[in-house]
Symmetry: C2
Subunit: 304 residues, 2 copies
């Protein structure tokens, strides 16, 4: 699965019989990203037989226990399993202060280095970038500073049409220009349109993760048209309005409303309150507003 | 179940598909004790529908992650669930230093107080006592300072035989002496033997928990005749001898040997290495030496 989001935990803070706390593993071609890391993340990785050899970056949305208390156990186990690659944890600046003592103590056998990369939860900015992918923070509205994340491939360059460049005798030195969309001018001064020499690149993929948040349209501009939108939906719409407001969470309908307004291709729901027995009503509620809604359960994988 | 040990996690450090890390809940009449607290303990408590209203003391055998990384999540959840009773954590002195920062951060909503009661892991001593029960540390042989625990009821006083004390007109003021085993002397100077006036008390119950340890006979004197002995058995006997020695764990046969020499009534095995698929071979191996051996799986309850 080249592009997929696997749900390791679809529950929220209070323990539930069949849901672990929030954790997801995102695959984007040869990259893996762990998004949040609730208690038991390492157990789920083992249960679902998920390999983590390409996992080098972990993104923590906020400092509530159900989103980060699985980190120490996971790092300690990585150490026992002989991991050698460095690992970067992107989070609120306080995380290192809170977990640092434990990590230093329990991850003594680690042969890899752990780097904390703090981000400012008040602004939207790019906090990760490699040659093909960027990750942007999306400040949310929660009881503590919280960010969602937008994972997106960079615009892809056009592909060379080998048959055509050979027919026009285009020198290799011009390929770079062609990939960027430039036309080719022959030695005789004839202009050969770029469209004749190159092929449309495949569409770049984008996935947005909206962690714990009250309803907010603040990030719509960033997540417009995303291939996959994960949005928390702790409650159903019939929840007590005061509860929804003071706890600063979203209902399934509100998550669907955001997906609809953003023009997302697919919506995945999760982070249900343990007071609900099934995720089905969440899916039903969301689909009335946004038909491509899916209520996740632990272990589900969503391709995009 | 007046006296029982419930296994919340029968695995060891590396994650396994169907076993959580070490954690047990011990019931002794109206008391509950949590013994070790691996990651996911709160989830298991929920899954097994275990009530914790009488749980006020947690005993941590040593500071390896698989024995204590479930503490912060558990305490934080207790806070969310509205717990009011103080909670005491008995452990190596370092635990407070390592977890203190996290607990203060994540258990902000707690309306109960958390006390750390450090013990010296080098000596055997009573670290808990109430009117009916004591808990004694049992220093073990492991790669870090580690203690097992002996939970035992105090010797029970004899019961008054109501019919007989009435027949001999024993004044109520003498009952205390009778319960302690003293004879009664009538106003005429006649000696009435205590055995005629009282009834044997029911036997006091004793349970010993031998956490991570290499084979050691050091604590035999304390655990002689225990009703239930939990002893770790990370490996089977055919494990590489160097591994058994350097990691300082026990085989099922070694655990059975200790149970046999102690004259225990029942042996429970756990803490299996994740490299084994089933607990059955552990039980088979132990029963060759000690027939009353039981290999625990998560969720099992052992009465005694």
């Amino acid at each position: 699965m080249e592009y997929s989001l696997r749900i390791l935990g679809s529950g929220s803070a209070k323990p539930s019989v069949d849901r672990f706390q929030t954790c997801q593993i995102l695959e984007m071609r040869e990259r893996q990203f762990l998004i949040d890391c609730g208690e038991g993340a390492q157990t789920r990785l083992r249960q679902y037989n998920s390999r983590t050899s390409r996992l080098n970056h972990i993104f923590i949305s906020h400092l509530h226990g159900d989103h980060c208390l699985g980190l120490v156990g996971l790092l300690s186990t990585f150490g026992m399993l002989g991991r050698m690659n460095d690992l970067v944890i992107h989070s609120h600046p306080l995380l290192e202060k809170i977990l640092g003592e434990q990590i230093r103590f329990f991850a003594v056998e680690c042969h890899f280095r752990i780097f904390f990369e703090p981000f400012n939860p008040d602004v939207s900015e790019i906090i990760y970038e490699d040659k093909a992918v960027t990750v942007r923070t999306l400040p949310l509205k929660h009881t503590v500073p919280t960010c969602g994340f937008l994972f997106e491939e960079k615009p892809l360059s056009r592909h060379i049409n080998k048959e055509m460049v050979d027919a026009f005798n285009v020198p290799i030195a011009y390929y770079k220009d062609l990939k960027e969309g430039k036309d080719f001018i022959t030695p005789d001064g004839e202009i050969v349109s770029n469209r004749r020499l190159t092929i449309e690149p495949s569409e770049r993929k984008r996935m947005a993760y909206m962690s714990d948040t009250a309803y907010s349209e603040r990030n719509l501009r960033w997540i417009e048209g995303v291939d996959l939108l994960y949005h928390e939906s702790t409650y159903l719409s019939d929840v007590d309005k005061v509860k929804l407001k003071t706890r600063m969470h979203s209902s399934a309908a509100q998550a669907a409303q955001i997906a609809y307004m953003a023009g997302a291709k697919k919506l995945v729901l999760g982070h249900y309150s343990s007071s609900y027995k099934s995720s089905q009503p969440f899916q039903d509620e969301a689909r009335k507003i946004f038909p491509e809604s899916y209520a996740a359960n632990d272990g589900d994988t969503f391709e995009f």
